[in-house]
Symmetry: C2
Subunit: 464 residues, 2 copies
C-alpha cells in the first residue's frame, strides 16, 4: 500500500524510515506506542481521496494524525502495525479568510489560525495549552474545548462546515459555511467529534469573532462551588461578556503555590474555594471589562455570596492569575500520583457533584484525596483522585483503574459524560462500552459500519 | 397494526375514524394529501417505543407529526395509505425548566414554550409565524429558523439535547443537556434536521436566554443589498445586540403598501432597497437599544452607506415596521402567482447573488419578475419568481417548475442550499437527488439504511 501511494503521489508523500516515523508512533505523553510501516503525507484533498481509495482497495487502515496532541491515544496506531499513519501536516494552507469566517486546511496549527485572524483584526476564540502543536483538523475531529468555551463554545459551535474524504474517496464539501442549510443530515456536525472514524477531515470552515480590545480578570474567594455557580448565573443574567469562569479548591491553589516558583496567592485570606473570572470588551463603546466586573461583583461581596475579590490592576497581574490556573496540572504532577478524569455533568448539578463525589471516592478508597477544578460554567471539571500518601507510583496501575471506574459510575449516575472534552480514543473505549446506553452504542455502531464499510478509518478508536 | 396498538395502549392512543383523521392528512397549505388507516397518539416515550417495536415487527411505517405546519409536506403521509400517522401532540409536558435550560416534550407548542420561559423571567429566542401551532418536536426535526436567528441561531444551536426512540425501540436520552460531551458521534445533532427519518424525537432540551427588557427597531433605506451587508457587518463589529436584520426591495414594500390595509411607508422617500433592524437590551446596565441604533447608524448616514433611517419612537411603531416585513408573503399572494424559493448562499456573496439571480431568471423566463427578501444576515432569502402579467394561475404548474429548477441551479452553482430553513420533505426530494453531491447523497443513504433498517421512519421524505 505505501509503495502504491509512493508510485501515485511521489516520494514526498511517504515516510517509511523508522527513525523518521518514531516520533509519531508514540503519543505526546508517552502513554501509548504503536507501529506502522509508513506515514503518508498527502498535500491536497485529491491526494487524500486517492489514498482512501487505495486503502479501501487494499484493506489497509489509516490512522489520521495532526499535531499528535491527543489526550486519549486517538492518533496513535495499534501495536500490530497493520495500519498506516496519515499525517495531515502538509495540508496547512489558509484557503480563505474574511471577517466572519476562515476556511483552513486540516494541518493548520491552532496558533497560526490565531495569528491569521488577528492579522485581519478578528479572533478565533478557542484556545488550549497545545495551541502551538494541535491542528485544526484534530481539534475539529475531537470537538476540542479549552478554557474559553463559556461564551463561544467548543469546536462544534465554531465549525461552520467541514470538507472531508468519505468512503469511496467521495469528497464532502461543506466549506461554504452556510448559516442555514436544511438539506438533510448534519454531516458536518457528525464528522466533528468522530475522531477520524467516519472519514478524513481535510479542511474546516470556522467562525471568527470580534477581537478583544480589553479584558478584565478577577479572582474571588468562595465558601463552596454552589456560591461559584450562583455568582456565575448572576453575572450571566447581567452581561454576556464573561468569557472564562474557572473554579478551584484551596488545596489546588496551595499545591500551585508550593510547587510552581514565582506564584503568589491572589487574596490575603484563606477560602475553601476560588474562582477566576474573565470578561472582555470588543468595542470601544462598551463599559471597560474591569469596571464591569467591579460593578457586578460589588453587590455579591456586599451580600456575602463572594467572600473576597481582587480585580487584576494590570495585564501582568491578569496573566499571573491565569498562570495559577494553568499551572494546576503541573503542580499536581509534582505532588504525586493521581488518576485524572475529564468529566461533565449538567451545570446546575455540578456544585453538589463536586463535593459529594469527592466524599464518596475518599470513603470508598481510604487514604485517597479527591477534588475537581476547572470549567464550572461548562459543567466540565478535571476530577483528580490522588494516591494515598503511603502509596507509591504503582498505585496508578494497581488501585487506580478501580478508582476511575468508580468515578465514571458516579458521573454516569449523575447523567454526565465520562469524556467532556478529551474524547474516547483508545483510552476510554472500554469505559464507553461499559457505560454507554444501548441506544447510543447501537446507533454509533450502525453509523460506523455504514460510513466505513471497509473498516479503514482509525480502527480501534472510539467504537468498533 | 392499529388494532395491536389499541390493544396495548388503549382506546385513546388510536384515532381511526376518517372524519377525525382528515385534518391531519393534508398539509396546512393544502398542497399534499395522503392516506392513513389510523393516527396513533402515544402519551409517553415508553408508548412511542412500544409503537416503534410493533411497527418494525409489522413492517408498517410511521409518519411523525406535530403541529402539521411543514412547508414541504414533511408530515403528510403518502397516497398509498400504507403508513400510520404518529401524532406527538399528547406528549406536551414541560418536564423541567430553569434559567439555563428547559426539557420539554415533543408535542409542546412553541407559543407555550415562549410563555413558560417568560414566566420564569427568561426567553426562548426562536420564533416564527406558526408559533401557535408548531411543536418543538417538529421544530427540532426540521431545524427550524425564523426571523430571530441572527443572534441565537436556528434550532440546531438552541437544542442542547434530544430524547428519541430509535430502531428497536431503543431510547436515546440526551436530555441532560451537557454543555460538553465527547462520547462519540453527535447523535442529538444528527436527529435535529433529520425530518423524522432516523427515529422519533420524543423530547428536547433547549437553551434559554435572557429576557428582552427593551428593543429598538430601525428602518433604513439603501442603494443596494451590498450596502445592507456592509451596514450589518459594521453594526456587528460594534455590538452583538443586533437580533434581526431583514432586507427587502422597494417592489416588496410597494406590494405590501398596496395590498395590506393600514400599512404606511416608514421613510418619506423612495429607496431601491430597505432593511429592518432590531437590537435588544437584556439588562438595565446596557445602553438602551434605540440609542445604540441611533449612535451606530449616524456615521453610516453621514458617509452615505445608509440613504435614510427612521428609528421607531414607540413599541407601536416598532410593531408597524415589523408588520410590513411579516406581510410580504400575504401581499405577494394577493398580487399574483409566483414560485417561491427558500434558499441560502454564503452571507458574503448574497448581495451579488440577489441582484444577478434576479437578472438571469428574468432573462431566461421573459416576462417574469424575480426578487428576494429576508434574512440577509443569515445568508437566507425567500426568492420569488412572479408569473408574467399575461400568464394565468396555470403558470405555476406549467413554466413554474422549470423556473424553480433554474433558481436551484443558480443557488447550487453559488455553493448554496436549495433548502435554507424549510427542509426537504416530499417537496424537494427530487431536487435534492438531482443537485446533492455524490458524497452527501451516499452518506445520507448509508446513515438512513443503518439507523432505519426496517424503513419505518417517515418514508418518502428527505432521502430514500
Amino acid at each position: 500500500m505505501a509503495e502504491k501511494v509512493r508510485a501515485r503521489l511521489g516520494e514526498r508523500a511517504v515516510v517509511s524510515n523508522q527513525a523518521d516515523l518514531a516520533p509519531w508512533l508514540t503519543d505526546w505523553r508517552g502513554r501509548w506506542t504503536g507501529q506502522a510501516a509508513a506515514l503518508l503525507q498527502p498535500a491536497s484533498t485529491e491526494e487524500v481521496a486517492e489514498i482512501v481509495r487505495l486503502a479501501e482497495a487494499s484493506g489497509v487502515a489509516l490512522v489520521p494524525q495532526g499535531g499528535n496532541t491527543s489526550m486519549v491515544g486517538g492518533a496513535t496506531p495499534g501495536e500490530d502495525g497493520s495500519a498506516l499513519l496519515l499525517s495531515m501536516r502538509r495540508m496547512n494552507g489558509i484557503r480563505a479568510i474574511g471577517p466572519e469566517q476562515a476556511a483552513i486546511e486540516a494541518g493548520v496549527i491552532l496558533a497560526d489560525l490565531h495569528d491569521a485572524a488577528e492579522a485581519i483584526g478578528r479572533r478565533f476564540p478557542l484556545t488550549l495549552g497545545a495551541r502551538g502543536s494541535a491542528t485544526v483538523g484534530g481539534l475539529a475531529s475531537t470537538n476540542a474545548g479549552g478554557t474559553q468555551v463559556l461564551r463561544f463554545g467548543t469546536m462544534r459551535q465554531l465549525v461552520t462546515g467541514v470538507e472531508a474524504v468519505l468512503s469511496g474517496g467521495l469528497v464532502h464539501d461543506g466549506l461554504a459555511g452556510l448559516k442555514k442549510d436544511n438539506r438533510g443530515y448534519a454531516l458536518d456536525q457528525l464528522l466533528v467529534g468522530a475522531e477520524g472514524t467516519l472519514g478524513i477531515i481535510t479542511a474546516v470552515a470556522v467562525r471568527l469573532v470580534p477581537a478583544v480590545i480589553a479584558r478584565g480578570v478577577a479572582w474571588v474567594g468562595l465558601a463552596d462551588p454552589q456560591a461559584g455557580l450562583d455568582l456565575l448565573r448572576r453575572l450571566q443574567q447581567q452581561t454576556d461578556r464573561v468569557e472564562g469562569f474557572e473554579i478551584l479548591p484551596q488545596d489546588s491553589l496551595d499545591r500551585v503555590l508550593r510547587y510552581i516558583p514565582g506564584t503568589r496567592p491572589p487574596l490575603a485570606g484563606q477560602h475553601a474555594w476560588h474562582a477566576l473570572i474573565e470578561a472582555t470588551a470588543t468595542s470601544a463603546g462598551e463599559e471597560p471589562p474591569s469596571e464591569l466586573l467591579q460593578r457586578l461583583l460589588e453587590p455579591a461581596l456586599a451580600d456575602g455570596l463572594v467572600e473576597d475579590a481582587a480585580i487584576a490592576a494590570s495585564e501582568a497581574q491578569a496573566e499571573a492569575f491565569w498562570r495559577i490556573r494553568h499551572s494546576i496540572s503541573e503542580a499536581e504532577k509534582k505532588s504525586g500520583p493521581a488518576m485524572q478524569h475529564d468529566i461533565s455533568v449538567p451545570v446546575a448539578t455540578m456544585p453538589r457533584f463536586m463535593v459529594e463525589a469527592a466524599r464518596e471516592v475518599e470513603a470508598r478508597f481510604p487514604g485517597t484525596d479527591a477534588s475537581g477544578f476547572g470549567h464550572l460554567g461548562d459543567g466540565n471539571i478535571h476530577f483528580h483522585v490522588r494516591a494515598p500518601a503511603e502509596a507509591g507510583a504503582d498505585w496508578i496501575a494497581g488501585e487506580g483503574p478501580a478508582a476511575s471506574r468508580f468515578v465514571h459510575d458516579l458521573v454516569t449516575a449523575a447523567g454526565g459524560s465520562i469524556s467532556a472534552e478529551h474524547g474516547i480514543g483508545q483510552m476510554k473505549r472500554g469505559e464507553l462500552e461499559r457505560l454507554g446506553s444501548p441506544a447510543r452504542l447501537a446507533a454509533m455502531r450502525a453509523i460506523k459500519a455504514a460510513m466505513d464499510p471497509h473498516g479503514i478509518f482509525n480502527p480501534g478508536k472510539l467504537i468498533a
